[in-house]
Symmetry: none
Subunit: 129 residues, 4 copies
DNA sequence: GTGGTCTAGACCACG
DNA sequence: GTGGTCTAGACCACT
């Protein structure tokens, strides 16, 4: 379900994190559902178990999943997200970077907004791109 | 003119690249204008010369500036932007990442679009945030 | 009578041990009293029998309970406590860790001492927090 | 400066974290001071670099230190600590565990309080136990 | 030089 | 069976 691109500049564990978040938002992974074990995931993605483990730990830190000792890892789409100033600032910075690059690539604001809508629609409908 | 944040998650040379691009788009740096030398820039920004050098090289590779041997480095807001498939794909990926994180942070699509407009306005008016 | 928190960082068998010790100190479980069997306990706490078994074994090793073959398991608040150097050292280490974390969390020594008293009072009165 | 006990039940990276926090509180490591590099530390402590790295990353997450890309790691005894309910709860639980064990070992509340004071004094004077 | 990422393979605690 | 820890050794990005 998750695509790993070894050539991507973003590290594999980040790709797993993003992939899992997508699956959760799309509803493919429901709240409380058990995730594939670290070993399963690692053999599915052809990735080292440690890498998967790192992704799971980060996801747990972010409150997306939780680990029950000896039982496995489970989706836990917890309460309201924390909207810290720092989070907002990071978000705005990333967006600025995108807009700046888009300007240089000749991509219009309208195009960007359209992409946002289409991606959100994709998330809500639970389909793949 | 360019703000460097040593603690930012994005590398310093990237911050320089982004800063230069902003200055060009804002019109602070005009086409054909001479840029400060690597040495000047590095002492202004309190940054390692190698880092500035790397930024300049990347900016040249992207066609934003050009180096004339013995004369210096100049802005060159050359012809039509390169709209390669690969560029588009990277742009969409980055945007997806932002939208995904925004979803988890509880930031709405409308807010994102507003941020895009306000940043573009900032670029066009040539002011700082 | 014992609360198990699957999400706690301390393992379930430790929680059982702590819970049993509390019950004994509070006098809820009297000296010589028979404890529920492993099977009963495990179905009461909704916990794996192996986990309860491990807790009982550890409690027996610590001299808190004793098993009479064929008869069951009994509370045995035996003679003088073992005050080995090793026990003292472990105790001091754990306390150090708590004080260190408290320092970083901005919790005062007075607050810690107050917590100690209030917990001891809770134990002596046999009530729950 | 940091003692590692391979036989301890607490993982090595935790021991490093605790050790570093002690050094910072004692003032042995001043605010802004550079820490030994991961490689140095690992060869000093006779521990794998990855283990040191894990400790440093966790310390950064806790705001005790900060990493400047390519430059190294530095002490950053940041602003006011966050006194979340969850932190308080964990602290109280740990303390309860200590008090309970102390009760069984025949260690009095006065003794515990004395240990707290003596450890804090040790921290403030910057000496070793 | 710095830290960050990844792999391979081992051992252990927990349930 | 689960995840957590540790080692060894490699490669890479950044300054």
């Amino acid at each position: 379900m998750i695509n790993i691109n070894e050539r991507s500049s973003s590290p594999i564990y980040e790709q797993i994190i993003q992939g899992m978040k997508e699956l959760v938002l799309k509803g493919v992974l429901q709240n409380g559902e058990k995730l594939p074990s670290v070993r399963e995931m690692s053999s599915t993605l052809l990735v080292n178990p440690n890498t998967v483990s790192k992704a799971y730990q980060e996801l747990e830190r972010q409150g997306v999943i939780e680990t029950l000792r000896g039982k496995g890892t489970f989706v836990c789409t917890g309460g309201a997200p924390v909207l810290s100033d720092e989070t907002l600032h990071r978000l705005k910075s990333s967006l600025k970077q995108v807009v700046l690059d888009a300007s240089y690539a000749g991509v219009s604001a309208e195009q960007l907004k359209q992409w946002i809508d289409s991606y959100l629609k994709e998330l809500r409908s639970g389909t793949n791109a």
